[in-house]
Amino acid sequence: MLTGAVDRVNLERSIEKLPPGYRTVFVLHDVQGYEHNEIADIMGCSVGNSKSQLHKARTRLRDLLQEDLRDQARTERQIAKTQTGQTD
């Protein structure tokens, strides 16, 4: 579960990894506050498609953030292991 572990830095990093279509819809809706009908006009797609893309973008971000957290935990474990080895 991600709650409490998401911050602006790792979210920005994950947004950069999104495919362009997902990224555009996510930034327009969740960062800049545009409504789905406005996004549909901008991107020349249907409102339903905008909603669908947004949900997929959020889900993909969740996966990316979880992956990011796992990598961080792995790195911290390795650092701790290295430090323990040096102490012994």
């Binding site: 991600l2 998401v6 830095v9 920005e12 969740d30 960062v31 800049q32 991107m43 020349g44 909603k51």
Partner: protein, 218 residues
Amino acid sequence: MQCSELEIVFEQFDFDSLPEPAREHVAQCSACQHYVADLKGIVAVAHELPAEVDPPARIWIALRAQLVSEGVLHEEAISRDQSAPWWQSFADWFRNRAFAAAAVGILIVVAAVSQMQKTNAPVLETREDGFGPTISVLRQQENDLANMQLAGTGSASNLSPVDTSLRENLQQVDDFITDCERRLKEQPSDELAREYLTHAYQQKAQLLSAMIDRGSLN
């Protein structure tokens, strides 16, 4: 209702206005509770991110007044622009296939020219094309940004992805400006090049403002 069925519901409804069957399922399913909590958390943090393409009004007001005084921007265009974000005009252009093809062509030329030149020559040269005051406004913004960077804010060594993206975008806009200026110098009556250049200057002003604002927040 099953977890897999909830996907379609999540696509169509806000988390706070889910239909009753979906709410009942979420209340009983810890996996879906975690899922909803995670997505809500992501949305909450996203709301805190700066909207990088929304420039401070002061910059655009100054630049627009300058463009109007130069006769580059007309009142008609201003009233149209006030009802739509700046980039919507680009989206409108690209709905027209001819403009899209022309834009792609220009971008290819820009890429090829920049590749051949491989130079960091100053983009804003003094030219007899009537854009002098606009260029001065942009120069001032560039100086402000450079001063902020010298003062230690927004250092290149620790840039966020958004800052990196802004810098890359600025470089692309600078390349595009260089190409438009060159075309306008060769053919001063080329109205399309003048229009592209006007929009490129607007975009540059907005990018610089966004970068300055981010720098002052750091």
